[in-house]
Symmetry: C2
Subunit: 459 residues, 2 copies
């Protein structure tokens, strides 16, 4: 494709993209095709000869878009509500034409250094300690797996060489994300060695249960090595009592990993920052700008104050010739700290977002999301037919119709079949619960109000 | 950012992108700043208030671009030469505005089904068996780690539960990529249990050495579990003797993972396809469209004929409520097969590439790259001052000046300091060797010829 053919097609694509951002509310939020519908409509075999871009773009609009669930829609309230913001998209566009891969500093110095700078800015805004070393992963699952791997390295360095280690025990709350379990299983912890610590009535890890569990494992000759504290659990965004957990973990020398994939950006708000007190003692932390920081998917940050342990956890006795480079104290080779060798130039989009909105602009949006969640919680409280199912800690509201699970399920299906909004569900205290996440930059009070009125009209 | 502000900025950005594609040859291929230069030029603190997009784009051009190594430059001959093609970039642009995350089928049906369809087309073009199940990862490192994890699951399923397993032994050639070692170390194999099997004079794994190593480990009471065959090693793109390896592995019931991250697309060429004979017996295979299939970074494909083992390797006893969905035989939930929960809509850019070029168009470019590499090898043979250092199997040429390592190093530095081309280096048979990778879609015979003449003029 010649540069001029690209130029013409890309201008068309940009107009479609801007139209999409302008008209996104006209799309049904949730796609509802029959499974396999797209597979059946697309050719079973790839094209023998090339096709014109116009035909491809036409098929994109006619066949692909109708089968998508619109994550960038202001009434996407499911899972976590996320945003591909304008500046983030522009950064992603530039990143794609440059096609930089910065596994080593030398492979693209500015890509490596921009990652250092942007993560440094954000670290300061979040009031994280200056010694925190940051690096970008694709998802929190991958970032947390690396944290658990580093914890394994600290507790049982022999595992990296011999593959043998004592029974390593990992602790998380019963509401922590299952990516923690997956990461632990991958690095060889074993599902039976993951303790799902009980939570209190607000779904926060009970420190005394954590302590008892550690004591019990020690008495049984096992080796506790890692505690995961969650700041914003997936089901109901509870925040574990960080200081108490750090105190207990510190006593036993355990690695503390903080899963703040969703909740992390809340540390930008002074009124929510106290929840994070003590975090400078944590060994690692993950937060996802692709969740609640207006950055297109994917971009997950792992911060750690023990980069040398992380690096050692992946160290091999011999560095192959194709990766050997002159060492310079200011030339950081990020791939030494990650399983993936290749690295996309992801920091560019984050830099665009941080600069375009500035700290104040970001704080304003986050605060508005928290306010909208609180308003919604207030409206739910005012309607006696409904009840809140969990405290509203950040910008997620869990609630239910005061009726049977069956009635709530029917309500849930009705909301999502409307095409007007998309909520997800969870189960709390044995009951089916509706889960309403606020986090898209375009979401307005009117979106929340109208969706709430629609729900009320359904019961 | 309003849709109209986005539209205006995005049109500007597209013009910069098209100009970049048109003028990329005017940039020095290899950036050569002082380490830390960009860090020193950027503000130490993030902006308190938002900045205009014009200022950000201006800084992008003035500060970032000069510090980048240009991977999309037709004379980027280092590492592996890659391409962000026009259609691939257009797909990436659309993917970024949609911001779809298809961890579950329901989370965006068309994204999941397009991945199934495109990987099916490619599988057929590569003449891989129809039962191969495909899924997209970020990098080959991650894909291979999943293959090794599945192999662990097959050989020692107890590891997933108890964390305990017998000494599991993995085999790869001494020239296989170090991401295999990293992946093995991550899943708990232990570096001491990785056998680096000797190679023949063409750098191919010696089957008899593999067999002897397996026998020795069995006699020592260890548990061989996985062999990695490489189709296109990183240093010199040798291809291991697949059929012999499969025969030996089959005899001992070992999982065979084929690392065809670079070489895989060569299976599209009938003249190179015989190297892949037997692949239908392999348990898994990785190939990277972001390497030699003109797709912007990152997109790595893992194919496996044992998807149920892969799925089981990550299975937990309990699926959390927020991930529970109605099961439908045609609704594939890809995240059940991967450590990362989140999934970018990566198949879109691959679909654009496959359709725009078609099978014939792709074959034409691949074949031309192989021809250019062979021509270059011919020119090297004709100049008695130089020698080839390895057979040219795909589109990479390893060569050296017939002189000391010191002279070759000086030559290497001189080439890369020219800004005209970027080569990398490796070490073969104890000697410093220049490594010239061809793989960018824009590379012409003139690029290769002129760079070669420049090198000749340096000695």
């Amino acid at each position: 494709m010649s540069p001029e053919e690209f130029r013409a097609a890309a201008h068309q694509v940009v107009d479609w993209m801007a139209d999409y951002l302008r008209d996104v509310r006209e799309y049904p939020v949730l796609a509802n095709p029959e499974p396999g519908a797209l597979i059946d409509r697309l050719p079973a075999h790839g094209p023998e000869t090339g096709e014109p871009m116009a035909a491809i773009l036409d098929d994109f609009q006619k066949l692909i878009v109708p089968g998508l669930t619109h994550w960038n829609h202001p009434r996407f309230f499911a899972f976590f509500s996320i945003t591909a913001s304008g500046p983030g998209i522009l950064g992603e566009m530039l990143s794609s034409v440059l096609n930089v891969q910065h596994m080593l500093w030398k492979a693209s110095p500015a890509a490596t250094e921009l990652e250092q700078v942007t993560l440094g800015w954000l670290r300061e805004w979040l009031k994280l300690p200056p010694e925190y070393f940051g690096l970008i992963h694709d998802t929190a699952s991958t970032a947390s797996m690396h944290a658990i791997l580093a914890a394994r390295e600290l507790a049982a360095p022999e595992a990296r060489i011999s593959g043998e280690h004592p029974p390593l025990i990992l602790y998380k709350s019963e509401h922590a994300h299952n990516s923690i379990d997956k990461g632990a299983v991958v690095v060889g912890v074993g599902a039976a060695n993951i303790r799902h610590i009980a939570t209190d009535s607000d779904f926060r890890m009970r420190p005394e249960a954590l302590e008892a569990s550690i004591e019990q494992d020690l008495a049984a000759g096992k080796k506790p090595f890692c505690v995961v504290a969650t700041m914003g659990t997936t089901a109901m965004t509870s925040a574990d009592p960080l200081e108490a957990i750090l105190r207990i973990a510190g006593k036993h020398g355990l690695w503390v990993h903080v899963d703040a994939a969703y909740g992390g950006p809340a540390a930008l708000l002074e009124e929510l920052r106290p929840m994070f007190n003590g975090i400078e003692q944590a060994d690692s932390m993950v937060l996802n700008p692709h969740k609640w920081l207006f950055t297109p998917f994917d971009l997950s940050i792992l911060y750690t104050r023990r980069p040398e342990i992380l690096r050692r956890s992946l160290a091999l006795s011999e560095v192959p010739a194709y990766l050997r480079v002159a060492q310079h104290e200011r030339a950081l080779n990020y791939s030494e700290y990650t399983l993936p060798l290749g690295r996309r130039f992801r920091s560019l989009k984050l830099w665009f977002v941080l600069r375009y909105y500035g700290r104040e602009g970001i704080v304003r949006v986050l605060r508005e999301h928290v306010r909208l969640a609180q308003s919604l919680a207030g409206w739910i409280r005012e309607d006696r037919r409904f009840e809140l199912s969990a405290p509203v800690v950040f910008s997620l509201v869990c609630f239910r119709y005061k009726g049977s699970d069956q009635e709530n399920r029917a309500l849930f299906e009705q909301i999502n079949a409307s095409g007007e909004a998309f909520l997800s569900s969870t189960e709390l205290n044995g009951k089916f619960v509706l889960r309403w996440a606020i986090g898209n930059m375009g979401t307005t009070e009117q979106d929340v109000r109208e969706t709430w009125e629609m729900i009320r009209s359904f019961v």
